[in-house]
Symmetry: D5
Subunit: 98 residues, 10 copies
């Protein structure tokens, strides 16, 4: 089950650099683990912004919220979620519909 | 080169059903041709709306506009385009970054 | 799996009354069937507007879109969907979490 | 009498963790008490956000404001309230219309 | 129980003048009846707009919606409703709190 | 001459409680004086928000601004003002049109 | 007493040219009469839009609404009104504060 | 003197194709004349939209409005104008600052 | 050449009162000098807000930006600029079109 | 390949002046280098705002993001990017289409 998640990062300007770096390192690990286990099939940077566009593949809304609220940067993220259904014009790509 | 395109369809309420059907049939063909030749790698329906979320893969902005403005439904679409860069946390999936 | 759906109805002002009445009658039947089979557990009118707030209980996003796009009034609805997760402070009400 | 309340939590980024934890613990107690006594029949988490969608059942607007402004997190909440009327298509569920 | 209602009138530009006049005459009667029976204690024109600001005094949300949706101009109104509670700084004016 | 004023209070989260309390006490006095002398005929709380809806009755725009900018909480208020004219459908209530 | 009025003109695209011309001619006369009698001290065109920025000088809000709602183009105008007070830094220009 | 103009084209869906074509042909001529005489130094298409981003070089605001309001498509354009000043970091390109 | 400038002042809540007072005193001087030399023909307070509506009369956009960015409060101002052209219905007032 | 970038600068009000000055000096150097090597063909100041309108000429979206995110002021910028295609009405200016 796919959800589009648009995430905007808003770090407080006075956060110490080391703290920010540590958060970002943990975010990287967390995000890559979810990419590897298939829950985060797409992750793109929005050009010119500290923001990303993601597609998430989860079994339930609870799992979606658990995944997103577990992000180390979650307290500093503004996330908009859009549920994605199969499009009638989408062709069968011989694999999952991700 | 990837672009997110969010498309909202707004058909005039008094468009004759046959005309709408014909446009939609042509839209389907056009869209599926672009999916097959690799320019339209992702196409999802926004749940609850006559709208889609798409990822397009083109060689230039001119090619992007040509692809979008050629859509049979283009006069009735409200399209917002977001250029997508590679995300530093994205893992290498052993294929294109689509 | 629960989704909040906020629906605004926008009938064209020149729609003949009989056509509107027929659509509304079919909408009523469709909506009540979905309420009875458990997919539409809550339906409220927004005071002062031709609009509703609904909670839908479906097994997948595709089922959600099928349910919503099948509404007889769908071409005239502006629907915003919000996925709802279980809240950590919600008490167990001894029944489903609807 | 039912009201939809959409609540967004915005804690100051520099609030000490212990203070936040204490507020959240009191919020939990307060919210669960209101759920148990019937004034807060529905409470859901908005997926991906530190936010909730609630339905409140109160005898008057004054009681509604008293309930909401008594929330321990109230100074950090952005709350939008929508009054809900009975929908003419709603079926009788053999209990209150909550 | 008081509600602020901000109403914007949007008549279709091609509505025949006689039809508009008839609707407005019925609106006037309806509105004045509700003013006289106490359900519509305040009615002001927004300067420069075909719009009004109203305060309504009703016993329930259902009664509020019944009152508003019964307006002859209702299909052409965009109404935003705000529930009003007693303000702690409001003085006792020796009459109802309207 | 009547103006609708919608006021939202935004106190800085780090304002010391005593300072806030002192401001609120002065606000109360100031507001009640203006209610008593007739310049502030209506004051309601917006349910669920630290906000109010007011109707002010002043002799000029300068007097309106003087009244509002004199509020002890003025530096923390976001105020939107709407000039109110007599509505042609308003009935004569045998007193001022407030 | 001064009010800023920002007016946007939205003529229906299918209004016959003669009707539009006649409305515009009457608008011109009406506007120039109000300019001459001092109620409309400033009238500017917003560059690139069928819109104007005006300053109106009236004795009351009722007079303001009468002036604006009497505009021949009023049914096609979207008007936003802002009440203007004397600015403490404004110098005395040896005439009215217009 | 430079102005950014962002123009969105909104043709009525029921405009006859020949009329639209004729307007577009005249628009093309008009636009190219202004490009050639130096008043319209930049003209780009917004990818995915029937819209453009333009930079105009005129001697006065009146000339700007004359240029824009003379566009054959002007009645169907939504134009937002932004005045552009020289940027202190801009390098001297050995020609005009266009 | 005239520009409408709508300025909103947003002083940080923790700015020391003396610093604010000194900035405001310099703002007053600066503004009055520009009023006297003709570059700032109109300055009004927006009723109920720490904001103003101004009309500026300058020879170029660069001069406009120099004037505005030189304001002592400039770092705390949110300014929206609208270029004003002569309105075809404006009467000749026997002086400049300010 | 051209992109419009609209950048708004939002420095924290408590940033020490020396730090701001140093950032601005580096921003100037960085920006001028990109102007000289052709990646930043246009840079204008938005009159009345600490903001700019830029046109960037890059070979890919990744290069665009690298250029923008490398700006010394990037953490304090709010950037909106619009991809620009060739306009069918644009004349050939005998050089690049910048």
């Amino acid at each position: 089950m796919l959800f589009l998640a648009e995430m905007e990062v808003r770090l407080p300007p006075d956060m110490p650099a080391e703290h920010a770096d540590e958060l970002k390192a943990r975010e990287r690990e967390y995000s890559q683990a979810a990419q590897r286990d298939g829950r985060w099939p797409h992750l793109w940077r929005v050009a010119g912004r500290y923001a990303n566009v993601s597609v998430l593949d989860v079994g339930s809304i609870d799992e979606l919220h658990e995944l997103l609220s577990g992000l180390p940067l979650f307290p500093y993220l503004d996330i908009r979620v859009t549920p994605l259904a199969r499009h009638p014009n989408a062709i069968d790509r011989g694999e999952s519909d991700v």
